[in-house]
């Protein structure tokens, strides 16, 4: 049987980008995807930052089916009955980040792969790695052996293949969050009016605090062209430890019903519902993303970053897919697909923004996972604001005094000072 240059497992952003690059280089590449088509199983928030990616795939972006360019950043901190929102807009935020719907985007990217001569076979789950003389030599899909010089595992957060290749252990609860997401259909004019946007502009809105009911996590809302993506992320470990956590969908329903959310989605039609894992791996990627005849990219390699103010995984998936393709190309030129040659991948990742940013924000989760970050502090901010704005029956204290009192009560203790100092890690 003929041996492909590369078999890519998973038609997500990492896999498709890798396949696209390999096909552009005239290499024989096959993508196997378990879903009905690329994108059918893929979930993101989401928004994608184009600036880091433009140098990699300059030709792609002008025609890419992106939703809206985000010009408005909104963060809301919530207590049980109150919410404090900070909003930021900037003229500089043009062509910076874009909202995206994966079912649409991945399908499109898949078409670009096929256009360049790559093969994508959907509805095929890869079940095993094919080994010859102990070394990885392809994949097995439902009993069928598919030989290849290199296997690129881009099979997402739960990556069975990276595990089988011995590059990482099974995903532990500590290493993952579960996300529930709904795509709700409105119309472009309604979206623009509700969120105060011009046509083509979008908003990214994050929510922290009481909505996660004591569990580590947060909510998000992104405006797409004619839909909004509303979701809730819950840390699995924190969820399991929580003594009285309600079922995830109950938490999500309560979130949707909040006074700050309900009017934003009023009258909308639910068009997509999904649940997905986010690898948070403590923001730590797999130590060695390669072995003989094998590379791992994207979420499968643990390349996803929770920076608190945003989640980044898509740029890392695409960039790592691209760099994996560069490595495979070099290996083909050398005619050597051993770990020695493929180690170049690790170097490329280190030199790119991918591992640099991963390294910078390596410990940001330690800070964010602190239960007080989603419990005490958002509630505290809301309480101080309540006091500042409240005018009751009795005499009122000076505003400066009220704020000062709030700071003294909330932050003048050893715990809070420690928390503040830890903030430097973000």
């Amino acid at each position: 049987m003929e041996r492909m240059d590369a078999v890519v497992v998973g038609a997500g952003l990492a896999g498709l980008t890798c396949a696209y690059r390999l096909a552009c280089e005239g290499m024989q590449v096959l993508v196997l995807e378990r879903g009905d088509h690329p994108g059918s199983k893929n979930v993101t928030g989401g928004r994608i930052y184009l600036r880091p990616l433009r140098p990699y795939l300059p030709e792609l972006w002008d025609k890419a089916p992106l939703e809206r360019q985000v010009t408005k950043e909104v963060i809301t901190m919530m207590s049980a009955g109150a919410a404090f929102t900070a909003q930021f807009t900037s003229d500089k935020f043009r062509e910076h980040s874009y909202t995206i719907l994966r079912s649409r985007f991945d399908k499109w990217l898949g078409e670009r792969v096929v256009e360049r001569g790559g093969f994508i076979v959907p509805q095929r789950r890869v079940t095993d790695l094919l080994r010859e003389d102990g070394r990885i030599a392809g994949v097995v899909s439902e009993g069928e052996e598919i030989p290849a010089h290199v296997v690129v595992a881009a099979d997402g957060a739960l990556s069975l293949l990276a595990e089988q290749a011995g590059l990482r252990g099974p995903l532990a609860p500590r290493h993952a969050a579960v996300a529930l997401k709904e795509v709700i259909k409105l119309t472009p004019p309604v979206i623009e009016e509700r969120f105060g946007l011009s046509p083509g502009e979008g908003a990214a809105h994050l929510f922290f605090g009481a909505i996660t009911e004591g569990v580590f996590g947060g909510g998000f809302l992104y405006t797409n062209q004619e839909t909004v993506s509303l979701g809730l992320v819950l840390g699995i470990d924190s969820f399991l430890r929580h003594p009285a956590a309600r079922e995830t969908h109950a938490i999500f329903e309560a979130f949707k019903g909040r006074r700050e959310i309900a009017p934003l989605i009023k009258g909308g039609e639910l068009v997509e519902y999904s649940a997905h894992l986010i690898p948070e791996g403590g923001n730590k990627p797999v130590r060695q993303p390669y072995t003989d005849g094998f590379l791992v990219a994207g979420d499968a390699a643990g390349l996803a970053l929770n920076m608190g103010i945003t989640v980044r995984g898509m740029e890392f998936a695409m960039a790592s897919g691209y760099l994996a393709a560069q490595t495979v190309k070099q290996a083909k030129e050398k005619g050597d697909y051993s770990a020695t040659t493929l180690a170049a991948y690790a170097t490329l990742l280190k030199e790119s923004f991918v591992l640099k940013d991963m390294e910078t924000f390596r410990r940001s989760l330690d800070v964010l996972e602190n239960p007080r970050m989603t419990g005490f502090y958002p509630a505290w901010v809301c309480k101080v604001m309540e006091d500042v704005f409240w005018i009751g029956e009795g005499p009122k204290q000076r505003v400066s005094f009220t704020i000062w009192k709030g700071i003294r009560q909330g932050l003048f203790n050893l715990r809070a000072i420690k928390d503040l100092l830890r903030l430097r890690r973000i």
């Binding site: 096959l30 196997l32 093969f119 076979v121 095929r124 899909s141 439902e142 069928e144 598919i146």
Partner: protein, 263 residues
């Protein structure tokens, strides 16, 4: 031995299909697949080929880019070659005109057996196969659930499904057989087959190639014309009955007597 299989790309069973507001046609979501019964026909041809001897399996479809997809699925499963009948003149034909084109193309192919599905999932008319057989003056057996070829390949024992049982028929070749559920279980095309199929050359035959005048094909050659489509009548609103169980039962009996008039 040459086996031809007639195939058609049809909307997936999960695709949403809606009658247009003016009833002039239907809107179909872009989710298509090889017609289920046709996949059984392709499978059967491949199984006969698998029994040995010199067997060539050709799959044939009438109709554009969607048709190519059906052919590629057949090739991915393992068919030897594929033929696309494609010409603007073929457009808008009814079953009669479609069968006319298929038969003309098959005439030049020296086939020993034609397999097709018992009906297409979309229009469920189930007559194209038998019409092709008529045009080619060969026997046809429909709703086939078993095919047993004689060792000399000159005849076959066929089982077909009939109400409450099966009918066993001996028929001489060439013959057209239409596949019914139960004939076999179609294989999932192997990945390597899918890749081979994506690269395979597909032979195209147009009006000139099959040698028919434009007047007997497509819209011009059709005997029937679809006038309009009707939507399913809207289901009337549901009434929820309230109260004690015994009371509800009394209400239900009353409604069945007076409103539905069934008891």
């Amino acid at each position: 031995m040459h086996i031809a299989v007639l195939v058609k790309q049809v909307p997936d069973s999960e695709a949403t299909v809606q009658v247009k507001a003016d009833g002039s046609g239907v809107e179909i979501e872009d989710r298509y697949t090889l017609n289920f019964f046709d996949s059984l026909a392709v499978e059967e041809a491949l199984r006969i080929k698998g029994q040995g001897g010199d067997v060539v399996v050709t799959i044939i479809t009438l109709g554009g880019q969607k048709g190519v997809e059906a052919l590629r699925t057949g090739l991915a499963m393992g068919a030897d070659q594929a033929v696309l009948l494609d010409d603007p003149a073929f457009a808008g034909g009814d079953e009669y005109a479609t069968a006319m084109v298929l038969a003309a193309a098959l005439k030049g192919m020296q086939v020993d057996m034609i397999l097709c599905g018992k009906e297409a999932f979309d229009d469920s008319s189930g007559v194209v196969g038998p019409l092709v057989a008529e045009f080619l003056s060969m026997p046809s057996v429909t709703s086939v659930v078993k095919i047993q070829l004689a060792p000399d390949k000159g005849s076959a024992l066929i089982e077909r499904e009939i109400e409450g049982g099966k009918e066993v028929i001996k028929v001489s070749l060439p013959v057209l057989l239409s596949a019914q559920k139960g004939l076999n279980e179609a294989r999932v095309p192997p990945v390597m087959g899918v890749m081979k199929a994506m690269r395979a050359e597909i032979k195209k035959l147009d009006l000139a190639a099959i040698g028919l005048p434009a007047t007997v094909v497509g819209r011009a050659g059709s005997k029937e014309e679809i006038l309009r489509y009707h939507r399913h009548p809207q289901r009337p609103a549901v009434t929820m009955l309230q109260g004690e169980a015994a009371d509800i039962v009394r209400q239900v009996v009353g409604l069945l007597k007076e409103e539905a008039k069934v008891i």
